[in-house]
């Protein structure tokens, strides 16, 4: 595949976009892991939504 004289610019823009999207995906996944770890930690301390009926009857 020949990208002509401006190959560098094309590759650079695709690479930067891939990096940005990759960063977004990494951010979302890391954030999820963090929150789930925190929830698990709290559950281990005996603090959980189920233990106190939290959220089961309350609206929203």
């Amino acid at each position: 595949m020949d990208l002509g004289t401006h190959a560098g610019f094309i590759v650079a823009s695709y690479a930067l976009c891939a990096l940005t999207i990759g960063g977004l995906i990494a951010w979302v996944r890391l954030d999820k892991a963090n929150q789930e770890r925190d929830l698990k930690e709290l559950a281990d301390q005996g603090i959980s939504r189920a233990a106190s009926g939290f959220g089961s009857t309350r609206k929203s």
Binding site: L3, T5, F9, I47, S48
Partner: protein, 255 residues
């Protein structure tokens, strides 16, 4: 009504769990097709040569940075008018994604501009408006981060988002005016009346792929935000249980 059924975060999480794998699969397929088309089937433009391929990511990114603001504005109306409990979650998680797409639109735009215009940056009306949009996204994100209470932050950000939505057309109009005063219209324009179908098809597929990507990321970020608020609410409850009285006043449900 479905809209209100999913006001319950738990039910919403269940929905995300079901929908997300399908959306992700569709998104990957669309990207595969779009990338194949933009590199192998699309011809080079007679005027722009191969750099037209940058357009296949630039235009969808630019489209998404506006769509994302629209999503945030609708969510803000949801926060302020209907007090929908997921609306501010949606607005908050859309902001970083919107900022990322705006950044992509700017970077690819200037990388396209270097071979076409001979410079990385021109104070072109559209580039300038997008830059202003980026500043607004970053400002909104900062506002979210600096406010402790997610409910209050959500309302403040909703007001700002809506004021921004009112202002964006005015900004666009004034930047256009400013641009015609200061620059002769001699730059190469992409938005001619004739976009060849060979270019249009990959553009369309890539736009669909980017839109799907936005929804995948948005749903995932919303799920994270709901979990984060759960953690926060549980911590506050734990704190108020161990120090009754002192923290009770602040331990409001924050979901």
């Amino acid at each position: 009504m479905a809209f209100w059924d999913y006001a319950n975060p738990t039910r919403f999480l269940r929905l995300v769990h079901v929908v997300l794998p399908w959306l992700t699969g569709l998104c990957v397929l669309a990207f595969a097709a779009g990338l194949y088309m933009s590199f192998f089937t699309a011809p080079e433009d007679y005027q722009q040569g191969d750099t037209v391929r940058i357009m296949y990511i630039h235009v969808p990114a630019a489209w998404l940075c506006m769509m994302c603001y629209t999503v945030m504005s609708i969510s803000s109306i949801g926060t302020l008018v209907w007090k929908h409990p997921l609306a501010d979650v949606s607005a908050k998680s859309a902001a970083p994604i919107g900022a990322a797409f705006t950044f992509m639109a700017l970077v690819t735009g200037s990388l396209w501009g270097k071979p076409m215009w001979g410079t990385y940056w021109v104070w072109d009306a559209r580039l300038t408006s997008v830059l202003v949009l980026l500043i607004m996204y970053l400002g909104l994100m900062t506002l979210w981060r600096t406010m402790e209470d997610p409910i209050k932050a959500g309302k403040a950000a909703a007001v700002l988002t809506l004021v921004g939505a009112l202002n964006l057309p005015i900004i666009k109009f004034s930047v256009d005016w400013w641009n015609t005063l200061h620059q002769p219209a001699s730059v190469v324009r992409m938005d001619g009346p004739t976009i060849h179908p060979d270019i249009l098809w990959p553009l369309l597929v890539m736009a669909i792929a980017f839109t799907l990507l936005f929804f995948v990321l948005h749903l995932m970020a919303m799920r994270n935000e709901i979990l984060r608020r759960r953690v926060r609410a549980l911590r506050l409850r734990a704190a108020s249980a161990s120090h009754p009285g002192a923290a009770a006043a602040t331990a409001q449900p924050a979901e």
